[in-house]
Symmetry: D2
Amino acid sequence: MDRLKKMFDTHPAPASGAGDTALAGVTAAVECSLVCTTCADACLSEGADMAECVRLNLDCAEICGAVARMLARPGHQDRETLDRLLAACIRACRACAEECERHAESMEHCRICAESCRRCAEACEEMEGALVA
Amino acid sequence: MDRLKKMFDTHPAPASGAGDTALAGVTAAVECSLVCTTCADACLSEGADMAECVRLNLDCAEICGAVARMLARPGHQDRETLDRLLAACIRACRACAEECERHAESMEHCRICAESCRRCAEACEEMEGALVA
Amino acid sequence: MDRLKKMFDTHPAPASGAGDTALAGVTAAVECSLVCTTCADACLSEGADMAECVRLNLDCAEICGAVARMLARPGHQDRETLDRLLAACIRACRACAEECERHAESMEHCRICAESCRRCAEACEEMEGALVA
Amino acid sequence: MDRLKKMFDTHPAPASGAGDTALAGVTAAVECSLVCTTCADACLSEGADMAECVRLNLDCAEICGAVARMLARPGHQDRETLDRLLAACIRACRACAEECERHAESMEHCRICAESCRRCAEACEEMEGALVA
């Protein structure tokens, strides 16, 4: 994501001073979005019934992707919309992490996915803090 | 969206009884998502500086799209995640509608887009109500 | 999708005269995208192993969504990019339809989904024809 | 993207041996998708008329995003669909790179974006090669 950092640095009119926090947020969100996409796919190859895990993975992938794309537009922030979207993302990440943690001992992909969800929830909380400041 | 209605009717295990409200929600959200996409594109062809409107259109398109896809998975609902995502969508729709209404007299596409955003916000509120019930 | 039609009619500078065909394309693609999303979710609730069907549904939902959003920007068309994306969509729709048809007798959601995929492939072919003209 | 690499390594049933190439493809595609999203936003803050550049950025962001998500599901590959989607992505990346290069001297964000698009086109070509092999 080196080029994305440079993009943020050269943006002609960023709306806030939250650039570094936003960059950390995009990075965590986009990783989590893809990790959840892969986890859903991996779960489909397990013999066990992983329907609930697949669904939470898909929700989380969806919302993390939306967060990443919204944070990747630093020229404007409707703070209230972003706040609410971050709140949705934090919840989706935690719900997915909890479900994945139930399978973490037997399925390494779920263990890593839970880790990625926890990291993304943290990054969203840091972003919330930066918006308040 | 006749086929989507049939899909909802034949789903083997919907998570809630909110089927018709959810279907109305998907329909309003997906229309709003595409209308906002077209409005952003139309705004780019106007001579005036429409940057703010384009940005709110893109945010709204993004979040409405996420709502539509999440509601299109009736087999499961993490109610809290959905609630928060609907709250983000309602706010994004209203912010976009307000901006579009400022241009509605001179730009017909903004007038229609504002209408679509107001309708989507309503449908999301009805969905919120159905979740509480 | 009445409002989307009005958006197309009031766009200040559409790039081509393919407006009605493009509108039919968006409509078919967005329906197929959501129908495939619901079919994947429904398949997860079936007892049988539907992993292959879920995967083809997710691919098809993804590409149909991209087609819908690209066609919803009538102000510009890089014809070659659009042509190639339509080709990918036609293939994804057919692959998904074939798999869904295998389950159509026992699962009504797969029967409807196959129908939606066939319709979307047709609409993409009509759009390809309109681009050549 | 360290966690995504681990996800690929622990997937129970990858469809092909193209894991490392696919991982490089996801990484390049997702970076390009976000860089194009930021470039569109930055272009909206420039005084000049950048409508064409914004549109090509949005197309490229869209298609690169679809490629990233499809490659992030290693459990299955409909080779023909993937091939066609990669072809669309290569074209979208090149069209966007060409437009951005026209502004590269005066706008650093366009210079970096063009670089990201060229890298993504290369990664897609490498992926095409890995599919043939």
